[in-house]
């Protein structure tokens, strides 16, 4: 009976020990191999290579929690601006025919520097810096 009790205690201790070790190591391993997490606060993002971006076109890039519109102008310049319309937050787009930024929600128009030039938007779009690092487009916060 005594031996049984000892055995029982030992096995409980063993199981508890393994559990304890797992509880210590699992978080360590998870920390070393983190799940895919988007960084909510970022200061710069890569936006692809210059070669797969045609002139006079645009794309919407995630910049932390904010959408940014990246435009390659007809003369191959890059412009990055906040893509949230300053009127009611619709996502703006680049019109390749008029070479302007357009908000389809209420016909708000911005120029390529983000200045609100017609329609309801009350403020310009926030500007971002664009740098080209070894053929890669990098968008960074201004200032």
């Amino acid at each position: 009976m005594k031996i049984n009790r000892r055995k029982f205690l030992n096995s409980i201790l063993g199981i508890g020990g393994i559990g304890g070790i797992l509880s210590i190591f699992y978080p360590i391993v998870s920390y070393l191999i983190p799940p895919k997490m988007a960084e909510p606060k970022v200061n710069s993002v890569k936006a692809g290579s210059t070669s797969d971006f045609a002139a006079n076109s645009y794309k919407i890039v995630k910049f932390g929690r904010k959408p940014v519109i990246l435009i390659k102008t007809v003369d191959n310049q890059y412009k990055a601006l906040s893509a949230s319309c300053t009127h009611l937050d619709c996502i703006v787009q680049y019109k390749s025919d008029t070479k302007q930024i357009w908000c389809a929600c209420h016909n708000g128009i911005y120029d390529l520097n983000g200045r609100n030039i017609s329609g309801p938007p009350p403020r310009p779009l926030e500007q971002y810096d664009v740098k080209i690092v070894k053929d890669e487009i990098v968008i960074t916060k201004m200032g």
Binding site: L9, G16, G19, A38, C90, N107, G108, P120
Partner: protein, 424 residues
């Protein structure tokens, strides 16, 4: 000693400079305002100032005097001489003459350019094409002229919040006359426009949310050339902001049918001054549907309306479900960034699907709602993953606590066991 001399001379020079500057300022001022303006001083003395007079009036601030508009000789202290027609005194203009009275300067680009190089000078010309202008010309003195909207003696630039024509003040300025039911009865016009407008989506945006992008009366009716928007122009007026809706609508067969039936474009379904935020059941065949006003059960339009509503409602419900899950993820402190992006996309799709209603073509709407459904489904899937991750972590934590508890108890018993054996 040297330092002292330096400080002293600097102080003296600075004082001279500041004095010079101050004198120069006064000089400029005297140049702008004439030395003697007996009209103003006498009228102030005898307390006979025009109603609503303000020293901050734009004309006064620009250095104009009473005589600049009313004529006369402000340098004379003799009332008769100062106000003699020989000196150009015109007195208070008659209502019907006011547009020309203001137009003396405001229609003269050479003169106006001195004050504001970019100012428009076609206000009077426009005014005479307006309903107000036409009626005034025809001898109706009840209609609005320049001063009715701008006031006579407390005029401020249009961007100045004190101005009666500042965007936020326009509805109440127009309402001074248009809200007067007695006056409006004469013209067979309603007088509840402001009441309706204040409850409309535009009125709430402008008057409650101070959204200066929202239209006030003049954005649809014009200002100096104010007119009720005609049947042909109505969709253009709305289309100034709602451009895609206008483009889609004008390309449909329905636009032609509307014109043939003398229907009022956008207004036919959305109303005018009281326009509300559209709801999804305005299409479809339910009791709030506008489509069933003309379409009967079984006809092509009826079927299309039913399909369009079903598609949009399905997307809206899925979008709401995804939003709720997103909020749950956020509340649990899990990673919501990607889901937030998907929802932004889904919202764009929902807006675009609703705009595409104006094509009255279910196939075009379906393209967008399908995209929207895919995006919202993805958002729901991601949210579920995050939520289950949250529970995995929580359960894991509970299991770890349990494991440690078991170790502690087992250790305690083990020690006790050992002690017992030792004693034995």
């Amino acid at each position: 000693m040297r330092t002292r001399v330096f400080y002293l001379s600097t102080t003296v020079l600075l004082t001279i400079f500041l004095f010079g500057f101050a004198f120069q300022k006064t000089d400029n001022k005297t140049k702008q305002t004439p030395k003697v303006d007996n009209c103003l001083s006498c009228h102030k003395d005898i307390d006979d100032m025009p109603q609503g007079y303000s020293d901050y009036d734009v004309h006064r601030q620009a250095g104009l005097t009473c005589a600049s508009c009313h004529g006369g000789d402000p340098s004379s202290t003799d009332q008769e001489a100062a106000m003699s027609p020989a000196k150009g005194y015109a007195g208070v203009p008659k209502r019907k003459d006011i547009p020309k009275f203001c137009g003396k300067c405001h229609s003269n680009i050479d003169y106006m350019r001195i004050y504001q190089p970019r100012i428009a000078t076609d206000q009077v010309t426009q005014y005479y094409t307006s309903m107000h202008g036409k009626k005034l010309m025809a001898g109706d003195e009840n209609v609005a002229e320049c001063a009715s909207c701008h006031t006579a003696h407390s005029i401020f630039p249009v961007k100045d919040p004190r101005a009666t024509v500042y965007k936020l003040n326009i509805p109440s300025t127009c309402n001074k006359c248009h809200g007067n039911s007695e006056l409006m009865k004469k013209y067979n016009l309603p007088s509840n426009q402001l009441e309706e407008y204040s409850k409309s989506v535009h009125g709430i945006a402008l008057l409650k949310q101070n959204d200066l992008g929202a239209p006030a009366c003049n954005d649809c009716h014009g200002n100096h050339g104010a007119m009720p928007p005609g049947i042909t122009s109505i969709s253009h007026v709305c289309g100034m902001c709602h451009s895609s809706n206008m483009e889609y609508f004008n390309a449909t067969k329905m636009a032609k049918a509307f014109a043939e039936q003398d229907f009022h474009g956008c207004e036919q379904c959305h109303g005018n001054h009281g326009v509300q935020k559209p709801t999804d059941d305005m299409v479809g065949v339910g009791k709030n549907s506008k489509c069933v006003d003309c379409h009967d059960k079984g006809d092509v339009g009826y079927v299309a309306a039913e399909k369009i509503e079903a598609e949009i409602v399905q997307l809206k419900n899925n979008y709401d479900a995804a939003t709720n899950k997103f909020l749950e993820v956020r509340e649990k402190g899990m990673n919501d960034v990607d889901i937030g992006f998907l929802l932004q996309d889904a919202k764009q799709n929902l807006i675009q699907s609703r705009t595409l209603v104006h094509t009255f073509d279910p196939a075009k709407v379906v393209v967008k709602t399908k995209d929207g459904m895919n995006i919202t489904n993805k958002a729901i899937m991601l949210s579920d993953k995050e939520i289950s991750e949250y529970y995995t972590r929580r359960n894991g934590f509970a299991a770890a606590t349990l494991a440690f508890l078991v170790i502690v108890i087992a250790l305690y018993l083990k020690i006790k066991d050992k002690e017992k054996r030792k004693q034995a």
